[in-house]
């Protein structure tokens, strides 16, 4: 089987120049001339790769224009294609026609970096709302975030449907429940949804820009706040990226503890989600029972790690907290009672016909669409995509303690709920295994900031799916750019597709089964 790298070099020949500043070395970076960027994407498409992320960097401090990077993946292999755009002509050929997932990445590049994806079918801004001045590009080095920005008038044109009986339902950005803000525009006839369009960006906080003003060790705190429910996975991805750059190897015990926290985060969030899905079908019993189990996990986190969500417990070079042998015993006994109660509740979920009627065949994301959009995480696994970074590109201890991947074919609400159920069971199993093989020793090593002009890349399977960090050091060894790709950035596209053919009152249930992060997407 030819790897992405081989097929890339065979298609692009001598034009592809390999980059030596990229860490870890397993992730190859190829420079290509701008005019061959689209060809590179074509080569990736024919090799059946998916687009992981696309982003731009401002290289002013290196005395260059802009770099546009696109990351592709197939199985365990990640490959980054990089091209340059000069300051006087900030543009690059769009990849949207090859990879649907590029659609929003490129709109975002245009909005925030001011680099034009030439030939992109949608000229509207993304993340940056219409009341921003056209020439305010926050990710450029020349942009000063401390100055207020004038408010301008602008309009966002939603896709309209016309015809007899067609009407529009605007929902949000402020919702009646305690959830994050996001706008949904439905075009409907009666109760049938013709089209759903999302408009996000209401929780844009300038996180990527903020990274550039922080030191390497402060950065981990910010990454832990990208999406509050995924704090461990984000901090871990950031740490792994910068540790790759410096060759820092945390001790084994730290790796085990990181994985332990990652799995506990997964269990807690999945428990909450399964309950919330049931609650949206008005089956509140499971919500309250599963919330109670989730609360048990969170309180134990608080006792053992000093924080309910284990925020700031993963640090560059290791972890901030050790656990005692008593703590290990406490987790093990808690898992016993948890898994017993969980199984009893799952029987109720599984055997209630009225609930089953709601979750089956609702909000189907077909395997074809899932592949085309490049979705990740449980959304992908519920639509027969075998993607899990813990298994495909494992880091210790996942190379020794291997989770089983739960893959379902139907892609409906039930499949997304059931993948979570299987993952809770699996996480409980591997936590037991981790605690039984927990190595002794130190929990952290010294972390030295990386040298100038390097880039680090890391993927971590958070509970929503694959989290990607790409961090670049500037000419003085500072953070020049930190690209964050939460799974939500690609999975939000899937919500729009999954809703076709459903009725308006089923949308909340479909949406909850995806439960993507607004904060992680808007950044």
């Amino acid at each position: 089987m030819s790897t992405l790298k081989e097929s890339f070099t065979s298609k692009l020949g001598t034009d592809a120049r390999q980059d030596g500043n990229q860490y870890p070395a397993s992730v190859t970076v190829f420079h290509v001339p701008r005019e061959r960027f689209i060809e590179a994407a074509r080569a990736m498409k024919t090799s059946d790769a998916r687009l992981v992320a696309e982003w731009a960097t401002d290289e002013t401090l290196f005395g260059r224009g802009f770099d546009i990077l696109a990351c592709f993946a197939k199985g365990p292999e990640y490959l980054i294609v990089k091209t340059e755009a000069p300051v006087e002509d900030p543009a690059f050929p769009t990849l949207t026609k090859k990879f649907v997932a590029a659609y929003r990445f490129e709109r975002q590049i245009r909005s925030l970096m001011g680099v034009i994806p030439a030939g992109h079918p949608d000229p509207r801004h993304w993340i940056k709302h219409e009341d921003w001045p056209e020439d305010a590009w926050p990710l450029r080095k020349s942009f000063d975030p401390s100055k207020p920005i004038p408010r301008v008038n602008g309009e966002y044109n939603f896709i309209k449907a016309e015809g007899e009986g067609v009407y529009e339902i605007p929902v949000g950005p402020v919702h009646a429940g305690i959830i994050e803000p996001g706008h949904f525009r439905f075009q409907a006839v009666g109760e049938d949804i013709l089209n759903l369009e999302e408009k996000l960006g209401y929780v844009h906080k300038g996180i990527e820009k903020r990274f550039e003003a922080l030191s390497w060790t402060e950065g981990v705190k910010l990454s832990g706040r990208v999406s509050g429910d995924t704090t461990v996975a984000h901090a871990l991805a950031y740490c792994r990226a910068i540790e790759a750059m410096t060759g820092c190897n945390p001790p084994d015990r730290a790796l085990w503890l990181r994985a332990l926290m990652l799995e506990r985060e997964r269990i807690a969030n999945h428990l909450g989600d399964i309950g919330a899905i049931c609650n949206d079908a008005a089956f509140a019993f499971l919500l309250y029972q599963l919330s109670r189990l989730r609360e048990v996990i969170l309180r134990t986190n608080d006792r053992l790690f000093g924080h309910r969500f284990m925020m700031d417990r993963v640090i560059p070079g290791g972890v901030a907290n050790d656990i005692t042998p008593d703590g290990v015993k406490e987790i093990l006994s808690e898992l016993d009672s948890l898994s017993g109660e969980f199984e009893r509740l799952i029987v109720i979920y599984d055997e209630n016909p009225s609930l089953e009627d709601r979750v089956r065949d609702t909000g189907i994301l077909t395997p074809g669409d899932a592949k085309e959009l490049g979705v990740v995480g449980f959304v992908a696994r519920a639509s027969s995509q075998s993607l899990d970074c813990r298994i495909l590109s494992p880091f210790p201890p996942y190379d020794r303690i291997i989770p089983r991947m739960a893959v379902l074919q139907t892609g409906d609400v039930h499949a997304r709920a059931w993948v979570r159920i299987e993952e809770v069971r699996e996480s409980i199993r591997i936590i037991r295994e981790m605690l039984n093989t927990l190595p002794e020793g130190k929990i952290s090593v010294r972390f030295d900031p990386p040298p100038a002009d390097r880039a680090g890349f890391a993927v971590v399977e958070g509970w929503r799916g694959e989290i990607v960090y790409w961090v670049q050091s500037g000419p003085r060894g500072e953070i020049n750019r930190c690209m964050v790709r939460d799974p939500s950035s690609v999975n939000w596209l899937a919500v729009e597709q999954a809703i076709h053919g459903n009725i308006v009152p089923d949308f909340p249930l479909c949406n909850k089964s995806f439960n993507q992060s607004y904060s992680g997407h808007d950044l």
Binding site: I169, A176, G177, A281, Q289, R358, P505
Partner: protein, 315 residues
């Protein structure tokens, strides 16, 4: 028989309706909490909610017409009048002569009609959506409701509620299959009419899934208080109507003042049981998909028709 006694009972019944309805809703919520393994906010929480709303200011949309402002009073009034017609404590009350069971159904229909209009009046997408859904349910539930009621009327040979209670409670006890069918139909219709699970979710905050709540989303302050209160009264009245039509034993005969304490205790007992039944249904079922409603209310209609048929064939 003097005139003061029935009038006094009517007033008493009216007061019971006003104050017991929120307590009954509180009881249902309390049971629901217990069934889900939670502690409850107590029996009086709905009362406190209503009082809170009365203290709050009304926020009116700029384009709200008189229909929007008038509807809460009409809904409250119509529901309260319905409370005077149904024999909750005693038969032969002054108001019960003014309206029979068909007029009673019409009273509920009027308040629903105006609520739907008010939902449309503001012009928000949610209001229109709620009104459209509510009328869909109404068009299916009302015929089924009338059929179920006709079955009971056939048994008692009258559409007057007092007469119906008299025949069943004070006549000879017969097991009637027609009434069993009608009761089944009535339970299904009650769930739909009062917006309970599996038809509507009274506790939801999801605008897109709401039915009744979607119509009244724009209400606030005393308007919302009146509508909420009327909604609670409606649940209470449907329960009382079910009791009067199917389990009337214990409702006092006209002028039987000595029996009233027994009636009250029995009523309390029946309401407690009705609450348990309702909560069992609501806890055990998920809300059904909107388009399943036609099947749900269709089966209610079918049960009611079976009741009618079995009356003619068997009785």
């Amino acid at each position: 028989m003097n005139i003061i006694y029935p009038a006094a009972v009517e007033v008493l019944q009216f007061l019971i309706l006003l104050f017991a309805a929120p307590v009954f809703v509180g009881w249902v919520r309390m049971l629901k909490c217990w069934f889900q393994g939670r502690t409850s906010a107590g029996l009086l929480q709905p009362h406190r909610d209503i009082m809170k709303l009365f203290y709050k200011d009304v926020v009116l949309a700029e384009n709200a017409s008189w229909i929007f402002r008038f509807t809460p009073y009409l809904v409250f009034g119509a529901t309260a009048v319905a409370g005077g017609v149904i024999p909750i404590l005693s038969v032969g009350l002054p108001l019960s002569a003014t309206a029979d069971i068909i007029a009673l159904v019409a009273l509920f229909t009027i308040s629903r009609f105006f609520t739907a209009l008010a939902g449309l009046d503001i012009g928000t997408a949610f209001g229109g959506m709620g009104s459209s859904r509510e009328k869909t349910i109404a068009s299916l539930a009302e015929p089924a409701m009338l059929m179920a009621i006709f079955t009971v009327s056939l048994v008692s040979q009258s559409t007057s509620l007092s007469q119906m209670v008299n025949v069943i409670a004070h006549g000879e006890f017969v097991l009637r299959p027609s009434l069993a069918f009608a009761l089944l139909a009535f339970v299904l219709i009650t769930l739909a009419e009062t917006g309970r699970i599996p038809v509507d979710n009274p506790a939801t905050h999801l605008e897109l899934t709401m039915i009744h709540e979607a119509m009244i989303l724009e209400y606030s302050g005393r308007h919302l208080a009146l509508i909420e209160w009327a909604g609670m009264m409606k649940l209470f009245l449907f329960t009382a109507l079910g009791i009067a039509s199917f389990f009337p034993w214990g409702i006092a005969a006209a002028g039987d003042i000595a029996f009233l304490p027994v009636t009250t205790v029995l009523l309390l007992f029946k309401l407690i049981l009705a609450g348990i039944g309702l909560v069992l249904i609501e806890t055990g079922l998920a809300k059904m998909r909107l388009f399943r409603l036609t099947e749900f209310l269709g089966s209610a209609f079918l049960f009611a028709t079976l009741g009618l048929l079995s009356y003619f064939i068997l009785e």
